[in-house]
């Protein structure tokens, strides 16, 4: 079943057009990667889906309904959550308060604070610390946990690996498998192509705001991605 579909999605920052006619389809239960160079429009794509940028209603379809015109907070209620780039944790809130704020929409589902702590046991020990006192990896776990607290059907992850050590990245992607095992659909935006392709079944490659390539990950010649990635 198709969970998310964008139809000729275009997005603007003022007069600057950042996305051109993007058509992406994500099926329920899938993990899909969106890759591309810096400035290719990956983050803009996620922000448009999450409602942070205004688009025409039917440019973004979720569960078969147009949601492009909804505000970001309404879209959380519909079941789309975001782990934003740069983590964006709330500095005045403790780790636990950051997680609880993720559950602000009170959307019912399998995730609650207890289950998030089971997924990331380290966070339970650190729960009373200010979120910004944590290491980068722990902050990233808090970001993912905070998004899960709204019990999303679709989880948008923006650059989970950014600035983290390889061993930490492996941990976080290991947890991602547990999340998808719950049936949560994931869209991964990554600059780390190998990491993204290992974790996903299909990928979309963006280049300068346009869709350059899409294919199943399995058996795909990674050298061929380079051409789409850099436009060579």
């Amino acid at each position: 079943m198709t969970l998310l579909q964008t139809q000729n999605l275009s997005a603007f920052y003022g007069d600057f057009q950042a996305l051109f006619d993007i058509n992406v389809t994500v099926d329920e239960g899938e993990t899909v990667a969106v890759i591309g160079a810096n400035g290719a429009g990956k983050t803009t794509f996620l922000r448009a889906v999450a409602g942070a940028l205004g688009t025409a209603p039917d440019m973004v379809m979720f569960e078969g309904r147009p949601i492009g015109h909804h505000t970001a907070h309404d879209i959380v209620r519909l079941g789309i959550a975001m782990a934003p780039e740069g983590r964006r944790l709330f500095p005045s809130l403790s780790v636990e308060e950051n997680l609880l704020l993720g559950g602000y929409s009170k959307r019912p589902g399998p995730w609650n604070i207890k289950r998030v702590y089971e997924l990331f046991p380290r966070l339970r020990e650190l729960r009373h610390l200010p979120a910004t006192d944590l290491s980068g990896g722990q902050q990233q776990m808090t970001t993912v946990g905070r998004a899960l607290m709204s019990n999303p059907r679709l989880l948008l992850c923006d650059e989970l690996s950014l600035g983290l050590a390889p061993v930490v990245i492996r941990d976080i992607y290991g947890c991602l498998e547990k999340i998808t095992a719950e049936g949560t659909t994931v869209v991964l935006v990554e600059q780390d192509i190998n990491r993204a392709l290992d974790a996903s079944a299909r990928f979309y490659c963006f280049q300068e705001g346009r869709l350059a390539l899409t294919a199943p990950t399995k058996g795909f010649d990674r050298a061929a991605i380079g051409a789409a990635y850099f436009g060579m």
Binding site: A52, V76, F90, S92, L93, E97, L101, Y104, R107, S150
Partner: protein, 287 residues
């Protein structure tokens, strides 16, 4: 003993200044809104209490049962209907709009009630006093100070023990990300100004029992509120109480030297602190 007396009276005076400041501090802390109409909303609350008192025969403090919800609703509607639209264009639009609201309130009150000086009458409590080993402390200032402590204590609980308070702090940190987490910022801002108006209503009524007021009494309350907030440090709730107390003590000391020095002494204390510690005594705000 005289100076101890001056010190105590001044500290208690700080209670009402802290109450003036709470509403201002909340709206700045949560939505970065500098509300120039804050002083006039204090005075408006006093007039609402006066009208309610005349209509029902209740004493001013009992009138709060009606004044508080009325001011909450006014704050909610003002934020939802008007001020939310000003928050995306930088610091200037909310300043201009609340300045306009200030003028409208002052002239509306002038139109409705004339320029007469008014006073709310609470009765014997206004002049009652307690003796503590030679020092006479007014029951009413003590009551006002107690209310200020209670108000700050309840805000502390609201901010650090409830989901609503958590959302207020999150929005204050990063409004865009809070929206991505499911917080309806505009609605939350409306609730915030509503809550700010609860404390404004209490401040307005308690002030009007103690001091004469007229339609033009707002701006000086705004300045006192600003001074208390800045002395205490932006974003620090208990700092606001200390700021109010410093203002009150400076005014009492000034008045003890010469009655004409009372108001000026408060402003001078404010200026000195601004020079020595520009970010206030207990700054909490990060940006």
């Amino acid at each position: 003993m005289d100076w101890l007396n001056t010190f105590i009276q001044g500290s208690l005076l700080g209670g009402i200044y802290a109450l003036f400041a709470i509403g201002l501090s909340l709206s700045f802390g949560i939505m970065r809104l500098v509300n120039i109409a804050h002083g006039d909303l204090i005075v408006l609350s006093a007039y609402v209490a006066m009208v309610v008192g005349q209509g029902t025969g209740l004493d001013p403090i009992s009138c709060l049962i009606i004044v508080v919800p009325v001011m909450f609703a006014l704050g909610y509607a003002l934020q939802r209907g008007l001020l939310n639209q000003t928050l995306t264009g930088g610091l200037l639009p909310p300043l201009l709009v609340t300045f306009g609201i200030s003028i409208i309130i002052q002239n509306g009150l002038l139109q409705g009630f004339g320029a007469y000086t008014q006073r709310l009458q609470q009765g014997a409590i206004e002049t009652a006093s307690l003796q503590f080993g030679g020092i006479s402390v007014g029951v009413y200032p003590l009551l006002v100070f107690g209310v200020a402590l209670l108000a700050l204590g309840s805000l502390q609980l609201l901010f650090y023990r409830t989901g609503l308070g958590r959302a207020f702090r999150a929005v204050s940190d990063d409004a865009d990300t809070a929206e991505l987490m499911g917080v309806d910022n505009r609605k939350l801002y409306a609730v915030a100004l509503g809550i700010a108006m609860i404390f404004t209503a209490i401040a307005g009524v308690l002030f009007a029992i103690r001091t004469n007021f007229d339609p033009a009494a707002g701006p000086i309350r705004l300045i006192l509120a600003f001074e208390a907030v800045i002395i205490g440090g932006l974003g620090s709730m208990w700092g606001t109480l200390i700021g109010g107390m410093i203002l009150g003590i400076a005014q009492s000391v000034g008045a003890a030297l010469s009655p004409t020095w009372q108001i000026l002494a408060g402003h001078i204390a404010f200026l000195i602190i601004l020079i020595v510690r520009p970010s206030g005594l207990f700054p909490r705000t990060r940006d």
